[in-house]
């Protein structure tokens, strides 16, 4: 491509639409059109003009707004697809195989296809991240390619433009003027807070140029935001872990080295409708129970500096705290939130050793399901020996009782009962509401008396060091939006020819009404010629033509 020489003698880079110096239209198409296209001041977008090396080609690809918009559309569609079924992080399965089975079982063939296509982990898939990255590249390159020429052009703009530039502006007027017209216009424009520059027989008044930088400021904010999101993937910046903590348990906090949490007590309080809560009585009657408070009383421990994982006998109490909804435990940059709960998980079971015939009790024993022991001695000289304990009994395999999980959801006990009457001992296998006597008919049995339960707290551990970066990115984004939306870049060009004729042109990037209002005041005080809105004229003409067609 060749440089373009304008009639005025100025040499413009290839691709320029309006001469950088005088403003003449440089292409035939533009010369014949009634109005000029003022986008990017008619400068050559750099990317369109060089297309040689592979780097230039990649650059040009990302510089295209069409490409940018396409990436956004693809991202939107992909993000929408990710919401059709729950993402894998939110399904109750943890291993590859069980996750796959969950989708297939719960959503049928749709779920199977969804999983096969990898949509179950869409937002962290390599192609989704790559697309977001490409959007970032597109933002940077498209902005650079437009911002640099626009900045240069606005910085170097001349006061005097060629009449052919002026008469192709949307706001245009010409007519006779007085000797002091230019001076008066200058004074009035300055009064209206315009920056006015004069050159020989003309002036350029300009206001709000910084509004043109709005989109680029906005893009900088977006890039910072995306950078913050990228940091989340780096270990140590972002933690979002869940922890089920049973009453009485002390556990290492996931992803928080050296800290431990103990659940002292979980409580769920509801509005009673009495006393202070009497005012809620009506609502409670209408909807049933209403929860007032979810609370986990915890103790936070820290291990000493030189301590090793596993050594838990020397933990130091850091603080006790009631974690409630929206009142997380905060320490060392981490926050622990109350998120979920399970009530009444079995904790201990009490049985009576009874004679099956007479139903006479020989005493009671309580088996701690969390920490059972080998032998339970009863007062009358009887003993119950625990031969096997299956906290979540799931059936027999090769004659052996099995447990599905380590949680006491369905405890099974293999016991040997020894009483003064039966010193040889009797074996029985007990599950909830069921007793099996594998070695023949027994004289004694364990009769269930009552059970102790405990509650389970679902806690979430969070740390997000990227929040300040996301905040700054968001703020800059909003500043850019405000800059571009609420401010306008207004310009007037006024020239007086040798014969006294005044040429007047105006341009703004938005809000033409405001521009005209400013101009009306200048026209009034400086006695400028009347102007027309040429876009309105064109629109009117088109409308009239259409109506003419209809009526004929």
């Amino acid at each position: 491509m060749e440089n373009v020489q304008c009639q005025c003698g100025h040499t413009n880079p290839p691709g320029t639409k309006l001469c950088e110096s005088c403003g003449r239209s440089l292409t035939e198409k533009d010369q014949n059109s009634k109005l000029v296209d003022m986008r990017y001041e008619g400068t050559a977008r750099r990317s369109q003009t060089y297309n040689k090396s592979i780097i230039d080609k990649i650059w040009n690809f990302f510089s295209s707004v069409k490409v940018g918009v396409s990436i956004i559309v693809i991202l939107l569609v992909a993000a929408a697809i990710g919401t059709i079924l729950p993402q894998q992080a939110f399904v109750p399965a943890s291993t590859e195989a069980t996750i796959q089975a969950y989708y297939a079982d719960t959503y049928g063939s749709v779920g199977r296809v969804y999983h096969a296509l990898g949509f179950h982990d869409l937002y962290s898939s390599f192609w989704f991240i790559a697309l977001v990255g490409m959007l970032a590249i597109s933002l940077v390159i498209a902005s650079l390619d437009r911002f640099v020429p626009l900045y240069k052009s606005l910085k170097n703009q001349r006061v005097l433009r060629h009449p052919s530039f002026m008469d192709k502006q949307r706001i245009y007027g010409s007519g006779p003027g007085a000797e002091d017209t230019l001076e008066k216009a200058e004074t009035k424009l300055k009064e209206l807070k315009y920056n006015v520059r004069t050159d020989k027989n003309g002036l350029l008044a300009e206001k709000g140029r910084f509004s043109r930088w709005g989109p680029y400021v906005n893009h900088i904010g977006l890039i910072i935001f995306l950078f913050g999101v990228m940091l989340r993937m780096i270990p140590g910046f972002y933690i979002d872990e869940s922890l089920w903590l049973r009453e009485g348990e002390t556990r290492a906090i996931p992803e928080v080295p050296g800290y431990y949490l103990e659940n002292k007590n979980f409580k769920l309080e509801t509005y009673t409708g009495e006393g202070e809560d009497a005012r809620f009585e009506e609502a409670i009657d209408r909807v049933g129970t209403v929860v007032k408070n979810y609370q986990t009383d915890i103790v936070l421990y820290q291990e000493p500096e030189d301590s090793l994982p596993g050594a838990t006998d020397n933990l130091e109490v850091i603080q006790e705290y009631p974690i409630r909804v929206n009142q997380p435990l905060k320490f060392d940059g981490y926050a622990v939130y109350q998120m979920d709960y399970k009530l009444n998980e079995l904790k201990a079971m009490t049985f009576a050793l009874t004679n099956k015939e007479t139903e006479e009790s020989l005493g009671e024993l309580t088996i701690d399901l969390i920490n059972p022991v080998d032998t339970y001695e009863l007062e009358g000289g009887s003993t119950v020996e625990l031969l096997g304990y299956y906290p979540d009994f799931s059936g027999f395999e090769d004659g052996e009782p099995q447990t599905a999980t380590p949680l006491p959801n369905n405890p099974g006990f293999l016991v040997e009962l020894t009483t003064p009457e039966t010193p040889a001992g009797e074996t029985s296998f007990i599950t909830i509401q069921n007793t099996v006597e594998p070695l023949g008919e027994n004289q004694f049995k364990l009769t269930f008396q009552n059970a102790d339960t405990r509650n389970v707290s679902g806690l979430t551990v969070r740390k997000d060091s990227t929040l300040p970066i996301l905040g700054i990115g968001g703020l800059i984004f909003m500043i850019g939006v405000a800059q571009g939306m609420y401010f306008n870049h207004r310009r007037f060009w006024i020239q007086q020819k040798a014969d006294g004729t005044i040429l007047l042109a105006g341009h703004t990037n938005k809000n033409w009404f405001g521009l005209k209002k400013d101009l009306d005041r200048v026209v009034d005080s400086a006695k400028l010629p009347a102007y027309t809105d040429q876009q309105d004229e064109i629109d009117k003409a088109e409308k009239a033509e259409k109506e003419g067609e209809v009526s004929s």
């Binding site: 650059w59 991240i129 990255g133 490409m134 080295p257």
Partner: protein
């Protein structure tokens, strides 16, 4: 003009490279799981200390100079159950050649673990991670997970899932001190 063009090409190449690098970096990190201190083969095995069923303390670093076969397990885990007799067999072969087994139970009761060990006549030390802190330090997800620690204290292999007796034998051979 050509100098200017060259400079422009250079700047473009740098910008593109930096941004492509950032994307690759992000993707790599997202696949690494974003976990802090994710253990990898070649890493120093984090030291820990746990108590066995006899009340004896076992500290990993005490076994420096021996190969340590660290197995994370639970009584409810079927593959763990199948592995244990095989591990016991191989333990009998390799314990005199400087290979130690540390079976780390995940937070179960002494009673359950002892019953399990006694029924299977297990002789290698079984320790219980009561607070799951070792499990956290090692980022253990599925059970069973086995880590091979060589005599220098480095992790040479991480095995998730069930192992055959041949596997176990070859792993022990691998970490046997020379």
């Amino acid at each position: 003009m050509t100098v200017k063009k060259k400079k422009r090409s250079y700047i473009r190449a740098v910008i593109l490279l930096v941004m492509a690098g950032a994307i690759v970096f992000t993707i790599y990190n997202s696949f690494a799981g974003g976990k802090s201190e994710l253990l990898q083969v070649g890493d120093e095995a984090p030291d820990f200390t746990l108590v066995d069923l006899e009340g004896k303390k076992h500290q990993l670093s005490d076994y420096q100079g021996q190969g340590v076969f660290v197995n994370f397990w639970g009584t409810w885990c079927k593959p763990c159950e199948k592995e244990f007799p095989l591990m016991e067999n191989q333990y009998q072969v390799y314990k005199d050649q400087g290979v130690q087994i540390l079976a780390v139970n995940i937070a179960q009761s002494d009673y359950e673990v002892r019953q399990f060990a006694e029924q299977r006549d297990l002789t290698f030390p079984i320790v219980i991670d009561k607070t799951k802190s070792v499990m956290e330090a090692y980022n253990i997800r599925p059970l069973p997970t086995t880590l091979l620690v060589n005599p220098e204290g480095k992790i040479t292999k991480i095995i998730t899932g069930e192992m055959s007796e041949e596997d176990i034998a070859s792993y022990m051979e691998e970490i046997k001190p020379e």
